[in-house]
């Protein structure tokens, strides 16, 4: 596949409590879905790819650039990997308003005014311009999702990792946001890894599918192969 632009590698992650994740992957451009029951290692996969959890073995390459290689003792820190991660909890900064949340990931080389301008643009693009001056505890579920996505995309990532991004939303809203997201991701043209256990969402957004179970890849293939059952 598009491994020269994609996210590719093989990792083995040991977690406290004896959980072992073994993941070989080749995520091309566009949405790849990581599917599986809870406790199967989906979140651990994202944390390891983002550089927040260190794998015991293996290597990770993004767009041809090595980010992690246990044998060569290479471990690019999370803040230099240019991989945006949207947590299931969204992890919006509670002490910053929406605008400053989004501006947080913009390059420090820009002036303050330019960062605010860009943050405003991203909020507008995610249809959340109306919450710019508000703090996260006042957001509705949908607004929080939009701000979190705006913040992730504004940081100009080379890959986007989404952990159950719509789990807090009711079904209709999740679909609406999913459709919008599909659009903006097509624009972004980068590897997007989507963790979900929503079959419908997986079918609609995903191209490639990896099914995890108990820390191992159970199946892998195209979304329309009927792998989702």
């Amino acid at each position: 596949m598009n491994s020269d632009a994609g996210l590719e590698g093989r990792i083995e992650v040991l977690r406290p409590g004896g959980f072992v994740l073994e993941l070989a992957f080749d995520f091309g451009l566009g949405v790849s879905v990581l599917f599986g029951p809870s406790g199967s290692g989906k979140t651990t996969s994202l944390l390891a790819l983002a550089g927040l959890v260190r794998p015991a073995r293996g290597r990770i390459t993004l767009a041809g650039v090595p980010l992690f290689d246990a044998e060569r003792h290479l471990d690019v820190p999370a803040n230099q990997r240019k991989m945006a991660l949207v947590f299931q909890s969204l992890a919006l900064f509670p002490h910053l308003d929406a605008l400053r949340n989004v501006a947080y990931g913009l390059p420090r080389t820009l002036t303050r005014a330019a960062r605010r301008e860009q943050a405003r643009m991203w909020l507008a693009r995610m249809r959340a311009a109306h919450v710019a001056d508000r703090y996260p505890h006042t957001f509705s579920g949908g607004e929080a999702q939009r701000v979190a996505l705006a913040r992730a995309l504004a940081s100009e990532p080379r890959a986007l990792l989404l952990d159950e991004p719509f789990s807090a939303l009711d079904h209709g809203l999740a679909r609406e946001l999913g459709a919008e997201l599909a659009e903006s991701m097509a624009l972004a043209a980068m590897p997007v890894l989507l963790v979900t256990h929503d079959r419908e969402l997986a079918r609609r957004l995903g191209r490639q599918l990896t099914v995890l179970n108990a820390g191992r890849v159970e199946r892998t293939g195209q979304v329309d192969d009927g792998l989702l059952g």
Binding site: A50, P77, F87, S155
Partner: protein, 221 residues
Amino acid sequence: MDVEPLLLSFGVAFVATAIAGVLGVALGGLLAARRVWGREFIDAAVTAPMVLPPTVLGYYLLCSVGRASFVGKMIETLFGSPLVFTRAGCVLAASIGALPLVTKAARAAIEDVDLRLLGAARTLGAGPVRAFFTVSLPLARRGILAGILLGFARALGDFGVTLMIAGNIPGRTQTASLAIYDAVLSGHDDEATRLSVTITALAVLVLVLASQLNRRRRDEF
């Protein structure tokens, strides 16, 4: 009432709290980071002043910064006056007492910050230092402030260590707690009562402030 010891106590407590505040927050942040080697040992060393007898602590300080010690001689050459039996000694004694309170509170408050918020900051391009100052510190500020207030109260009331390394020189190093001791010994019970009541009132005020800061706002959902 002789206010000079009270004023000295407050001055010393302010400076000592500033020192212990900066040092304690830095240490608390370091101890909350999980990749620091020997962090439980550092924690124990910082906490020791809370459990050691003041005389032991004072003795150690005399040995390490006294006029005969290497550090003491360096200080005397650099500043032209020794540290021991001066107001600087009072500040050192008070800082040592306040430091564990600030450090403990800062560590707990910083460890309490949701790791996912720090993770988000990291993936958004923030290095550990920027993440500390823009995420950990602002979110831990209430707990840290509460620790600083407790540290201030502790610095205000130090007796043993101050006596050991700063002496009890009226008008120079005699803080309120030492003045109370002197007043009792020399039979000036009225003076002792006045100073004691003043100190008590101020300490209670500080504790009330600290608990106000520590209390989570329950009306916030």
